[in-house]
């Protein structure tokens, strides 16, 4: 995959998530104090289910690119080697474990999200 694809995927997903946040925030703003009825009607709408499902996929794209760049920037033999040269030697393994952790965590969270809204 070329870098510019990741660059644009990161930015476009950010804009989509920003729009979703504004949408949800405006619902909370106009429904103060929040009542159960208004909230359950809102979350049972088909448009909420579809957009939130789409959002869960976009969260995966946005967060995985972001967390991956953090890993390649800070979990390297040079930065970890500052903590201790012995740790620095295992930078690739540490970064791999970190990547596995966030991929696993992301998959768990998104599965629960999809299960929650559709059940």
């Amino acid at each position: 995959m070329i870098g510019s694809t990741l660059f644009y995927a990161q930015r476009l997903s950010a804009i989509f998530l920003l729009g979703y946040t504004v949408w949800l925030s405006s619902f909370f703003l106009f429904n103060q104090p929040l009542e159960f009825d208004a909230w359950s009607v809102f979350t049972d709408q088909i448009i909420f289910l579809i957009i939130t499902s789409l959002v869960s996929l976009i969260i995966v794209i946005h967060s995985f690119i972001g967390l991956w760049t953090i890993g390649t920037d800070y979990f390297t033999s040079r930065t970890l080697g500052f903590v201790s040269p012995a740790i620095g030697k295992y930078a690739n393994i540490i970064r791999g474990a970190y990547s596995l952790l966030f991929v696993f965590w992301g998959c768990v969270v998104i599965s629960i999200l999809l299960f929650t809204i559709w059940s």
């Binding site: 929040l34 359950s40 969260i59 953090i70 040079r78 500052f82 965590w105």
Partner: protein, 131 residues
């Protein structure tokens, strides 16, 4: 050329020793906020969504918890303020990606604007909790 190769040259990067300009602080805290959101705010909002839509009783339980427990409401407020911070700095980055406010001076000013806007939000939330 005479370069003294015997002098101890840095091999590792001490991230704490580098003095960061304000725009870099804005950028690195954006990343830290991103990690926090992924591992804390996201599962927390999932927890809130699950119980607030499950049944009327669960909804009332969550609202009572938010009202009565200062610890829980502070934790929830903090988590969403971190999210707000990520969004504010993120919008700043998006504008810069579109070549708006790219200069050194503009990026310094916009960092301060973002910090100011976020402080206003923090103050508003603290005011609401204490009220």
């Amino acid at each position: 050329m005479s370069i003294n190769h015997n002098r101890a040259r840095p091999v590792y990067i001490n991230l704490l020793q580098i003095k960061l300009p304000i725009s870099a602080i804005s950028s690195i805290t954006h990343r830290l906020a991103g990690i926090y959101i992924f591992f804390v705010t996201l599962p927390l909002s999932l927890f809130l969504l699950y119980f607030s839509t499950k049944s009327y009783n669960d909804f009332m339980f969550i609202s009572a918890l938010l009202k009565d427990s200062i610890l829980f409401s502070t934790f929830v407020s903090f988590s969403f303020l971190v999210f707000a911070y990520h969004i504010l700095t993120g919008v700043r980055h998006l504008l810069q990606d579109m070549h708006i406010g790219e200069s050194l001076e503009a990026s310094r000013v916009s960092s301060y604007i973002v910090f100011f806007l976020w402080s206003v939000l923090v103050a508003a939330v603290i005011w609401r909790i204490l009220l």
